[in-house]
Symmetry: C2
C-alpha cells in the first residue's frame, strides 16, 4: 500500500506548505488549524475513506514556519506514518472524557506564543469537523492565543492547482469520459433509472475510479425538474432526456461533469436548447481569462444563452473543483472571487427547454477546465455537439 | 423518483418528531437546530448525495411542538417538496453576502420566544455543518434566544431504531452478504488489492447497493497492520489474509461489517486467532442485554478474547450503526452509554496474531446486530466459522 499513500512526492507538499506560510504571513496568522478531510489531505497526503465515520476528529496545525504537525487518533498513525509528515502526535479516540482536546492544547501551546492568532476556516463553503463544544473548550485552554478566520489563507492557496494536481483531475475526467462512452451499453428505453445509476457507478470503477463519491442524474420528457434526487425505479421512455453527473475519485481528486442522452429521437426544443448550451460553453471557454471575476463567468454564460434564445436555469453556472466535488468560487451574480491562472473550474450552464405542452424543463451541460494565461484548457473530454440517442 | 423519495411513510417521521419533542421537553429545549445530512435525513426523509458538495448549508428546525421547518437552498426545494415536510423556506445559495443567515434568523425569531434555548448537536461524534462565522453571526441575530448543547436529545432518540429502520439495515447487510459471497470470483493469489477493491464495490452495486460510501480493507502475511488505508497495486500472495470491510448504502441506511479470507491454506496462528474472534462474537451475542453499558460490551470482548488465549487489538471493539457508517456509542473502556432495546450495533473484536517471525499482525472480525430485550439478533449473515480459502 506504500505506493498509493505517496500520491505525490514530498516536494509537492513542501511547496504547498511554503505557499500556505507565505499567505499566512501576508494575513498575520501564526498558524493554521485544519480539521477537514480536504485540508488535511492537501497538507499531508493522508488519504482514507475513514472520514466517512463521524466518530473521530483529526487535526493538522501548520505553523508560520517549520513542519506541520498532525494530531490524530492512534488508529491513523500507521497510514500517516507513510506520508511525508514527520510530526505526528496521537491519542486513543474516541474518548468521551477528552477526545484530543488536551493533546491539541498542549501542542498549540508548545508551538505558538501567547500572542498567536490561529487561522481556522470559518467562511463560505467551510465546516469545522470537530465537536463544537470541544472547539470552545480548546479555545479556553489555549487563551490568550486565539482563533481567527483563516479561510482566505487556505482558499487562496488551494484554489491554484499544481501541475501534478491538474494531471490527477485530468485522469479522473478521462475515467469518467470512458464510463460515459459506455452508457449506451446499459441505458435505453425501458431501463429503470436506479439500475442505470448502479451500472454507471460500476462502469466508473471498471474504468479506473478508486471510488465514486457522487452520482446524480435525472430523466424526464424533454428535460428534468431537479438534478440532486436519487434514482427511482421508473423506466426510461422514448422522448426522455437522461442526464448523468458524476464525481468519480482517483488518487483523492475529483472530476465533476455530466452528459445528456436522448431516449429515441431528439425533439426540436431539446435540440435547440442543447445546441445553445454546447455553443455557449465553447464561446465562454474562448473568452475566459485570468483577472476576470466569478460573476463575469456567470454573466458571460447568461448573456450567451440569452443571445442564443434560451433562458439560463439551474442555480450557479460553474464552480471550483479538485479535492472536493465542488470548491469555491461559484459562478453566481454575487461572487467576486478573482479567476486566476491554475484554477480548475467547471462550466455548468443550465437552460430551460420550452416545450409544446407549456412546461419548462431543465437541461444542464458541464465541462471541467483549467484556466491558463491564454484561456481555458479542457480537462474533460468534450461533450458531443449533438445529443447522443439511446435506443 | 417519487417512490424513492418516500423511503418511509409520513407516520414514521411523525413518530420520530414526537419522540424528539418528548426528549426536548425533558431537557428543557425549545427547539433543535440541525445541520448534518444524517440528522436532516432522520427528520425529513430528504436523501441526496448532494451533501458531497460542501458549497451549501442546509437546516432543519424542530420546534417544541408542531411541524419541523426546513430552511434550505432553493436547488433542494423540488426534492424536499416530495417528502412529508410541509414547512420549507428557501434562499438562493451559495450567496457570499448572506448564505441563509437572515432567513434562518427570521425563521427562528418567528417560531421561538426570546427566552428560547435552542439545542445544537455539539458533543462527541457531531459536527456543525455550516460555516462557523455564520453560526456566530446567527447567534448574535437571534439573541436573547441562545444555542445550547442539544446532543443528548437527538442521540437518545436516533440511537433507538424503529422496526422500519431495522429492516433497512437488514437489507443493506443482506446486500453486502451477497457481495462477500462473490469475493472468490475476483480475489485470489496474484490479484492486486486495488483491483479487488474496485470489483468488490461493483459487486455491492450489482447486489443492490444504491451507492458504496465506504470500502476499506487490507492484506498481509498472517494478518494486517492497519485497516483504514486505500488499496495499492500489490498482488495477493499465498499466506496473506485479505480483509474487506464495507459500508454499503440502501435507502439511506448503512451496513458496516467485514470478512476475512486466507490466500491459500490457513496457518495455525491465523486459524487460532480467527477461531477466538468467531467464538467471542458468538459468546458476547449471547451475553448482551439492554441495561448493560458500552464499556461492558468492551470488557466482555476483551475478557472473552483473553480467555481464548489472544490479545484484543485494533481500537474500539464495536459501535452504533444506522444512517451513518458509525454512530455512538463506542465499545471502549470509557464509554458509559446505556445499551437499550432497539439499538443497532456492530460487534467488532480485533486480535493480534502472534506469528512465528515474532511480528504481531491484526485480524478484525465484525457483525451487525440489533439489541432485543432477550439479547442480540444478527442483522448480518454470520461469518463462516472457519476462514474461507481463496485460490
Amino acid at each position: 500500500m506504500a505506493e498509493r499513500s505517496l500520491i505525490f512526492p514530498a516536494e509537492e507538499f513542501r511547496t504547498r506548505v511554503a505557499r500556505l506560510q507565505a499567505e499566512m504571513s501576508a494575513q498575520g496568522l501564526d498558524a493554521l488549524f485544519l480539521t477537514s478531510a480536504a485540508d488535511i489531505f492537501y497538507v499531508t497526503g493522508f488519504l482514507t475513506r475513514f472520514w466517512e465515520s463521524p466518530a473521530r476528529p483529526w487535526f493538522v496545525i501548520v505553523p508560520a514556519s517549520g513542519a506541520p504537525v498532525a494530531v490524530i487518533p492512534s488508529i491513523g498513525a500507521e497510514l500517516m506514518g507513510r506520508t511525508w509528515m514527520t510530526q505526528v502526535r496521537t491519542w486513543e479516540a474516541p474518548d468521551p472524557t477528552d477526545d484530543g482536546v488536551s493533546l491539541l492544547a498542549e501542542t498549540l501551546c508548545d508551538l505558538l506564543p501567547e500572542s498567536a492568532r490561529i487561522g481556522v476556516p470559518m467562511g463560505l463553503e467551510t465546516h469545522l469537523r470537530m465537536p463544537l463544544a470541544d472547539f470552545t473548550r480548546l479555545g479556553e485552554r489555549i487563551a490568550p492565543r486565539r482563533f481567527v478566520d483563516g479561510t482566505a489563507a487556505i482558499q487562496r492557496v488551494r484554489e491554484i492547482k499544481s501541475a501534478a494536481e491538474i494531471e490527477k483531475i485530468r485522469m479522473a475526467c478521462a475515467i469518467a469520459g470512458r464510463a460515459f462512452a459506455r452508457v449506451p451499453e446499459f441505458a435505453g428505453q425501458g431501463r429503470p433509472l436506479d439500475g442505470i445509476f448502479r451500472a454507471f457507478q460500476s462502469a466508473l470503477l471498471e474504468e479506473g475510479a478508486d471510488w465514486v463519491s457522487y452520482v446524480a442524474g435525472a430523466a424526464g420528457p424533454s428535460g428534468y425538474d431537479d438534478v440532486i434526487s436519487p434514482a427511482g425505479p421508473e423506466p426510461l421512455q422514448v422522448g426522455d432526456v437522461l442526464m448523468l453527473d458524476t464525481g468519480a475519485v482517483r488518487d483523492g481528486y475529483f472530476c465533476d461533469f455530466d452528459r445528456n442522452f436522448s431516449v429515441g429521437p431528439v425533439s426540436d426544443p431539446v435540440r435547440r436548447t442543447h445546441a445553445a448550451l454546447w455553443e455557449v460553453t465553447e464561446a465562454v471557454m474562448a473568452q475566459l481569462r485570468p483577472g476576470m471575476r466569478a460573476h463575469d463567468a456567470h454573466r458571460l454564460l447568461v448573456e450567451g444563452l440569452a443571445a442564443r434564445g434560451v433562458a439560463a436555469g439551474g442555480g450557479r453556472l460553474g464552480h471550483g473543483l479538485g479535492i472536493t466535488l465542488t470548491e469555491w468560487p461559484s459562478f453566481t451574480p454575487r461572487d467576486g472571487t478573482e479567476l486566476r491562472e491554475g484554477m480548475v473550474l467547471t462550466l455548468e450552464p443550465g437552460a430551460w427547454v420550452e416545450t409544446a405542452d407549456g412546461l419548462r424543463r431543465l437541461l444542464v451541460h458541464e465541462e471541467n477546465i483549467v484556466l491558463r494565461a491564454t484561456g481555458a484548457e479542457l480537462l474533460s473530454p468534450r461533450a458531443p455537439e449533438t445529443l447522443p440517442e439511446l435506443n
